[in-house]
Symmetry: C2
Subunit: 455 residues, 2 copies
């Protein structure tokens, strides 16, 4: 890794050239580089924590002046118990993953001696823009090396000293390995981002990890694909036949486990039939966790009857905009879903319509005892993740068992939902023959065999 | 299919809504719609050919005025022998493909009763912009219905009467099926394209099928992903150990089988050791097919010695720009690749560097007798398709055995190389539980099982 003072164009060009060398390295060489990085970071613990302390010092001043939130301050601290070791363990975890390069998923004999093969290969050059947490740079560098992608990293200014110290250590460690130094470059100036987002001849994919604003900015400005999600407006619909015994647990977990997360609950849809039987218990449990409820008239009037005065002080009237808002906080919008007199199942469609119209196509859930209703929901909701009878918080690469997570994507192409290492890969075709030309085939000529071969 | 007079926003919104309904239809319902379209087009042959004749009449006038090339004129004619039947057969072919929707490729038991499933689903709304060939509209409508994607189609103005007639027939046929009419909409005004390219809330993917200019325009303007390729600057490198007996055949086929195709050869790289032994025969064969050779000094001076005066009249000096040019015609750039004195294998790297720098990352080939050299080429060339000892013309969805072709992509994400029906699909995650929350897991709590289940 180099801490680059090069121009954005020079840095991107160097990354592209390195990416081709990196793509040819065997897994053993990439793992050896990860080993070297791990050991070097382990040895340099004191130096890096000293640099981190400088970032923290400045951040504390900013926090005292009210320019920085205490949650960001907390995330900056690499010296917190277990954090540095977790960072080191993360390198080992990535090292231990199966090699994602060169996985063959198609082999076809087009004709005698003409064999086609499709296999996974790295994308090329990634531009990864992230915010303050200093350990993310190590995580991303590890993922890039493992997946044989070059990466240009741009981190938030709050961690600048930590980033510089870490990148110096990684750079020195890589020098003794086969991974070219320019494969991982740290860019520290904010004004490098705009030019990099235009260099589509060198940068193949942008991965912004941070605020909605950051993601939207990249989506608007980038001349290459952007992977990620801007919003996480997740909803759960409680159907008329929901199992009351699980409802409060699922809703409270979805909302309160980590309210600032993209997979936390923002809108609760409740079938009219369970306003009386289920919603009061759910509302009590949420209010006990400090949640403010923004309710439509129907749900509010039911709750007013069932809850104490102290509890109802946590209930407000919902405005239309609340159903389009990702609160990222202890606020929840609640809306009643009515059946038509003719058909109770219409309510499922109304809930689906609400979610497809107001949601962000990230993660949405249903609580129902019916497989048929769940299938209707599964098939018609246009979201990356659709959950039945469980918390939206399970939408996560680690929880899904992917070993590591590049991010969560709401894109409709390439990778969608929690993205593991395979989201950093693409495929290539290799065809080997013994002199065949295409003109030999077709009417009157040879016919293709298209015989599937074992992988 | 409706021939839409709606505003671009209304059309796109209607497509989005239809796409959700379409996504829930079983394969049988989509196949029944294809059947209906097939039968209706079969019945309406005379009406459609009459409309096509009007397009042809106008086109002939344009061609006579020099405003339209004769090759476009030829492509417009739906009445040519076998063409209409081929178009109908294309619908049946697509109908017969395996259902691309709902293919499960991952099942994991996260914990007791908490089961994750990943499965294929349609992307949503496709915007497909294409040029004159009238049968393409039928091909694309078939692919969209089969893959359960809604599609907005914009065809070239030269085929406007044919498109209108075809879309009227398809629209009427779909009315009797479960496929919503707004699933397939034909837009006829050129000025609808720019607004559509901005409607990323409704349109999920743009597929331009046509000239480099059209593709570049879409890449520049679209607010959503664009799949395709602008350039097809394909190269072949003849290494020092190439098998002479196959060389002329492969090179002539690559260049001459269809010079206007994106997978035809544009640059020939020749190792210095075979300038005398192989190049003259290759050059003679190319010149016999009417190819003009743009040569560097080294190759030109060898050819001057070996070819007749008549032949050498087809040889010109190459300018630097020729190695960056997609001629799409009977012109070929030739460049000599030299070994360094120390290491003959360095020439392979020089050829690879040339291809990675000057090529378009579409399809590139090598002629060599060595598996080791071929592997070096395979691993280091940054192209969607890498071919060894065969013609670049094999880069094609039909030839690859994909049954149908959406196009050829040089993108580094989603789909790369010839794209079959699977390029119109993305995946979704479905998680079913019985009341689990995420807070139950982690240190001190339950541990995930992450048990792989059979598909």
């Amino acid at each position: 890794m180099s801490l680059t003072n090069a121009s954005p164009e020079e840095a991107a060009r160097a990354a592209k050239i390195s990416s081709r060398r990196l793509a040819t390295l065997p897994n053993a060489a990439r793992n050896a580089a990860l080993e070297a990085v791990h050991d070097a970071l382990s040895e340099a613990r004191e130096t890096i924590l000293a640099a981190n302390a400088k970032d923290l010092e400045l951040a504390k001043q900013s926090a005292a002046n009210g320019d920085l939130s205490s949650s960001i301050l907390k995330r900056l601290d690499l010296g917190r118990k277990g954090k540095y070791d977790d960072m080191l363990k993360g390198i080992r975890d990535v090292q231990g993953l199966e090699d994602p390069v060169g996985r063959v998923d198609l082999r076809t004999e087009l004709d005698d001696g003409l064999v086609l093969q499709r296999q996974s290969c790295p994308i090329g050059v990634l531009l990864i823009i992230f915010e303050a947490r200093p350990e993310v740079i190590v995580n991303i560098a590890s993922l890039a090396i493992k997946s044989a992608n070059a990466a240009i990293l741009k981190g938030g200014k709050e961690s600048i000293e930590s980033f510089k110290a870490i990148s110096t250590v990684i750079s020195k460690a890589l020098e003794k390995t086969d991974v070219p130094n320019a494969s991982i470059q740290l860019v520290t100036t904010r004004d490098a981002v705009d030019p990099l987002l235009e260099l589509s001849q060198y940068v193949d994919l942008v991965i912004p990890r941070g605020s909605n604003e950051l993601v939207r900015y990249c989506q608007r400005k980038a001349h290459m694909p952007v992977m990620g999600h801007a919003d996480g407006l997740c909803s759960i619909y409680i159907h008329s036949d929901a199992d009351k015994s699980m409802t409060s647990n699922v809703i409270v977990d979805s909302k309160c486990d980590y309210p600032a997360a993209c997979n936390s609950l923002e809108t609760l849809l409740v079938h009219e039939d369970v306003l009386e039987s289920i919603l009061p218990e759910v509302a009590s449990a949420l209010i006990a966790q400090g949640v403010t409820l923004r309710c439509d008239n129907q749900s509010r009037s039911v709750l007013s009857k069932h809850l104490s005065q102290d509890q109802t002080s946590h209930i407000q009237d919902a405005a239309d905009a609340d159903y389009d808002t990702e609160f990222l906080d202890l606020t929840l919008a609640i809306r009643t879903i009515n059946s038509t007199p003719q058909n109770k199942a219409d309510a499922v469609d109304a809930a689906i319509d609400h979610i497809n119209t107001h949601g962000s196509h990230h993660t949405d859930g249903i609580l129902t005892s019916s497989q048929e209703v769940a299938d209707r929901f599964y098939n018609a909701v246009d979201s990356a993740c659709k959950f039945w009878n469980c918390s939206t918080r399970f939408c996560d690469g680690m929880r899904f068992g992917f070993g590591t997570e590049v991010g969560i994507s709401t894109n409709k192409v390439h990778a969608r939902g929690p993205v593991g290492l395979e989201g950093l890969m693409i495929h290539e075709y290799r065809l080997s023959g013994n002199g065949q030309g295409a003109a030999m085939y077709g009417s009157g000529g040879r016919q293709f065999k298209h015989k599937k071969l074992p992988l």
